[in-house]
Assembly symmetry: C2
DNA sequence: CGGCATCCCGTGAGATACTG
DNA sequence: CAGTATCTCACGGGATGCCG
């Protein structure tokens, strides 16, 4: 199916107005999602939440190197976009539960395709980089 | 096939060492690709080059709002990772042709899946954002 | 426990000017 | 035409400390 002829599907093959308007590029939902997904922690957090729900400090302990600040900010960002839900249980002390929303769950699929690609071709990229670093 | 039960495939569902080691996260090819794809111009350029080859200033004119500097840097970055090829034709004045490499072409597929998701769910995200902005 | 406020720094990215 | 060189600034992101 994926042979020598690489068929490029759907929206990326859709005709673009040339020159690509600045306005359109910035407003594009694709650009939007790419920026979300391109930050340092969002995807990792989504992957963890894809397995089960987590509490705040539980996430904090589960991700080496993330600061509280960035964990908060990233979770807020994901929540803001409707990808993650935040549930406060009025216990004492309070417990806060984070989950993937159904929307967030659907994002994991195309994300997974990209991740698979990365794993499959990571060596190719590494090779290309070394070739470029050659004297 | 994709019904109520969202099945999460492949690497994103693979078991992770908890806590996720900082080292591992930074070295991960997925992280790598996400950052590449998460910058402002890479994907747009790849989409254009997916349709046909372009010359430098032709790209520059085709993308409203990009600076020469960023066009150069982004192209160099893509070339560095083996996603784009740069061919200099020794004419006078020199013409330089940019193309997607076969590797770059394969990346267009999972990228397309993500783009499709973004287009399909852009409204949901917008709604979630408005809900959060509500008084 | 689950945060927010503050300070600080590296880098992504634009503007402008110059070159083979 | 196809870039390189500077300067500059905004912003992502880390460290630290305080709070309900």
């Amino acid at each position: 199916m994926s042979d020598t002829h690489t068929d490029v599907p759907s929206v990326v093959s859709a005709p673009l107005p040339i020159p690509v308007p600045l306005e359109e590029h910035q407003a594009c939902p694709v650009t939007d999602v790419l920026r979300r997904v391109g930050d340092r922690w969002s995807v990792l957090i989504m992957i963890l939440l894809g397995k089960r729900s987590y509490r705040f400090n539980e996430l904090h302990r589960s991700i080496e190197g993330i600061s509280q600040r960035m964990l908060t900010r990233t979770l807020r960002g994901l929540e803001h976009d409707g990808l993650v839900s935040r549930t406060v249980h009025p216990t004492n002390p309070p417990t806060v539960e984070y989950d993937l929303t159904p929307l967030g769950r659907t994002l994991l699929e195309p994300l997974s395709a990209l991740a698979d690609w990365a794993v499959a071709h990571g060596a190719d990229i590494a090779t290309a980089r070394e070739r470029h670093a050659a004297p």
